[in-house]
């Protein structure tokens, strides 16, 4: 079966790439520049450790990364101060491409990183990983460095959720299993080979990133997978097992909002691909309920999945990159 073949040939474990000397040599041979982007919003508790570890292991000891940048959505805690104190380049997303209207969301930070950072490859790592380790970066970069055909490498994990009484060995990925996997299986069966399509850690070649449009909210990872699959097929993807990722657990209400945003992105893609023509105007209001004693309180929230166009269509970007 084609999916099994793809999984076998494109699924890795980070331990296969532990020889960082070899990896750096290959990177230098190809004259690649690599940027790490950490999108943040109020991450002062975990950001310091991420930067110290990546700086020490992947810049000082093994020069795999050429820059570490934090792109922030406007934290009200000390995220940027902490990041700066440990030597990261720090940016407020709204200061990048200031002539454009201001939008707020993780996808916005990821998109602006394409303009701001210099790497031929950009690796994105979330800032809320409690058990951060250099493998989170080199595990994603290695398949790109060793195989020029690979364009996008996604992380997957044995995902424990952090609980106060200790660490539970399994769980997490509820939106993946309840929403994304069924959707992919229905409409894009090959993409169901991606074990954790929503993981926030991935590495991508610039030549691909700059051609992608970016939902600024929950749908950014889903949109990437769909668009890259459509343009390049499964051969563009690889995935790496990074073992455990300890992170904050999200409440079901938050997962509902996330699913609502992702569904918007998915349905818009279906329409634009011509796979669903009769989709009505989608509502952007999500209604959820909260119980207080015997009273059920209705909570309505507007969630609009706005998108940024491909960076390659932004004149400032073309000017900065010398119209390459």
């Amino acid at each position: 079966m084609k999916i099994d073949k793809w999984i076998k040939e494109n699924t890795f474990h980070h331990s296969a790439f532990e020889d960082l000397d070899k990896l750096v040599k290959e990177k230098e041979k190809q004259n690649l520049k690599i940027s790490l982007c950490i999108p943040t919003l109020n991450e002062e508790k975990t950001i310091g450790k991420e930067i110290v570890l990546f700086n020490s292991e992947l810049m000082t000891r093994y020069p795999l990364l050429d820059e570490i940048a934090v792109i922030d959505s406007g934290s009200i805690d000390n995220t940027l101060e902490v990041a700066r104190s440990f030597g990261a380049d720090t940016y407020l997303a709204s200061d990048i491409l200031p002539n454009l209207d201001n939008k707020k969301g993780k996808g916005e930070n990821l998109w602006k990183a394409i303009y701001q950072l210099k790497g031929d490859i950009i690796v994105y790592i979330d800032a809320d990983i409690k058990n951060i380790h250099p493998r989170f970066v080199y595990g994603l970069l290695a398949p790109l460095i060793y195989n020029k055909k690979t364009k996008y490498v996604k992380a997957f994990y044995d995902r424990p959720l952090a609980f106060s009484e200790g660490i539970r060995p399994s769980g997490g990925g509820r939106v993946t299993e309840i929403l994304i996997r069924p959707l992919f299986s229905l409409f894009f069966p090959e993409l169901s080979a991606i074990i954790q399509p929503l993981s926030g850690e991935y590495a991508v070649r610039r030549e691909v990133l700059e051609k992608l449009s970016f939902p600024i909210g929950y749908g950014v990872e889903t949109a990437h997978l769909l668009d890259i699959y459509r343009e390049y097929g499964m051969d563009a993807f690889a995935q790496t097992d990074l073992d455990q990722r300890v992170h904050r657990n999200q409440e079901t209400m938050s997962l509902g909002k996330m699913s609502f945003g992702i569904l918007q992105t998915f349905l818009h893609r279906m329409k634009s691909y011509g796979m669903m023509t009769d989709i009505p105007e989608l509502s952007t209001i999500l209604r959820q309920f909260q119980a207080h004693d015997d009273v059920f309180e209705s909570i309505e929230q507007e969630i609009v999945e706005e998108e940024r166009p491909p960076m390659i269509t932004i004149p400032e970007y073309l000017k900065k990159r010398g119209n390459k």
């Binding site: 508790k45 310091g48 450790k49 570890l53 902490v82 380790h133 200790g166 660490i167």
Partner: protein
């Protein structure tokens, strides 16, 4: 005549400044070692990481032994002398605890960060640090993470190494995460014990004195407190923990008490232990319950004199750096060095910011001083300035 330590002392401020540049390497090792759970007798994963680090720095003889110590040798130019630097790898936190460490601009927080992930991180980082400072010692530097140090481990790792190695160790340094200023040149005698009380099957609750474990253990403690404790030799009995009972409405039937007898005199430790054993037998007889005193570990008192050049030069280094030496007897790896007749010290690296049941927090800024004092002392030992005439 100029003090032979002059050049070393003069170089300290510059060294301290350079050490700030390697902050991230030390903090990274602290996080990566400290996030690996390492309860006593289960240090293997932490040891594997340490030995892997030693391998990355091209140390010689990167290896482990049958106890689970992690070792590597940084060869000296002449190799005439062997200095052993040791930090224990085990931690008081079990493997179920969340071992996440967080770094803030001024501090590092997590379980076992102070005791002794920081000490171990210093050992792991030292080859890199010495290279960056362009310091090449004449002596071989043996770097060791010792296993089975705490509690029931009873320093088994370091004792095993010292008992079985063919290498002639000239000087030992035991590195502890905290506190900066700690200077231990002697060990006090110690017996670490657990008392187990339990009511046997078919116990007659109607007999005189049948009151359950809590009251009986309370009586046991009161009787210990009645023992006269001498001021010379300095002696004390430290009650460390007590556990008993399962809730309301039930008389507790089991209890456990942990305590240590500490004294400058080995004989006093033995004498007190015998007295406590007698009390246990008496109480067991009176109550018809089982009371067992179990000795977990024992240390002999001893050490090098306060006037030993290793101590005086360590004090000179600290005083030059405005670190106030805190001379305290040790019960750590130092005891094993003392038993083996090797001149040795225990020193600390940083200051404790906070400590709770689930985590410890150490300050970052004092680490540079802590490292500078350690390296200066190493250089002094290497040059033979700390040898006794």
């Amino acid at each position: 005549m100029k003090d032979k330590m002059f050049e070393i002392l003069k170089s300290i401020p510059d060294m301290e400044k350079k050490l700030r540049e390697i902050r991230d390497v030390l903090l990274t090792n602290l996080v990566m070692l400290g996030e690996i759970p390492s309860p006593t007798f289960q240090e293997q994963s932490r040891m594997n990481f340490l030995v892997h680090r030693f391998n990355q720095y091209n140390l010689l003889n990167c290896s482990t032994d049958e106890i689970g110590n992690g070792l590597g040798i940084l060869p000296g130019k002449s190799g005439d002398r062997n200095i052993l630097l040791v930090a224990h790898m085990d931690s008081e936190y079990d493997d179920k605890a969340d071992h996440t460490i967080s770094i803030q601009p001024n501090s590092v927080t997590g379980p076992g960060v102070a005791d002794n992930a920081l000490g171990l991180a210093v050992i792991a980082s030292l080859p890199y640090i010495l290279e960056k400072l362009n310091i090449e010692l004449n002596s071989n530097l043996i770097l060791m993470g010792s296993a089975r140090s705490l509690g029931a481990g009873n320093l088994e790792g370091i004792r095993f190494f010292l008992d079985n190695t063919d290498i002639n160790i000239s000087t030992g340094l035991s590195v502890e995460g905290v506190r900066l200023g700690r200077l231990s040149n002697s060990a006090i005698g110690m017996a670490r014990c657990e008392v187990h009380y339990w009511v046997p099957e078919g116990y007659d609750w109607t007999q005189f004195g049948a009151v359950g474990s809590i009251v009986t253990l309370n009586e046991f403690i009161n009787r210990i407190l009645e023992i006269p404790i001498p001021t010379r030799p300095a002696t004390s009995i430290v009650f460390s923990s007590i556990e008993s009972g399962r809730g309301y409405s039930k008389v507790s039937t089991e209890a456990e008490l942990k305590f240590e007898i500490q004294s400058e005199s080995e004989e006093m430790v033995e004498q007190l232990l015998q007295q406590i054993n007698s009390i246990a037998i008496e109480i067991a007889t009176k109550t018809a319950a089982r009371v067992v005193v179990k000795e977990l570990s024992r240390r002999k008192p001893g050490g090098i004199d306060f006037s030993h050049p290793l101590v005086t030069n360590a004090r000179k280094i600290m005083e030059t750096m405005d670190i106030k030496p805190r001379i305290t007897p040790s019960m750590s790896e130092l005891s094993a060095f003392i038993d083996a007749g090797i001149p040795a010290l225990t020193i600390g690296i940083s200051s404790l910011e906070t400590a709770s049941k689930t985590a410890e927090s150490v300050k970052i800024d004092p680490m540079y001083k802590g490292l500078a004092q350690l390296i200066s002392l190493l250089v002094a030992i290497d040059k033979g300035y700390c040898d006794e005439n």
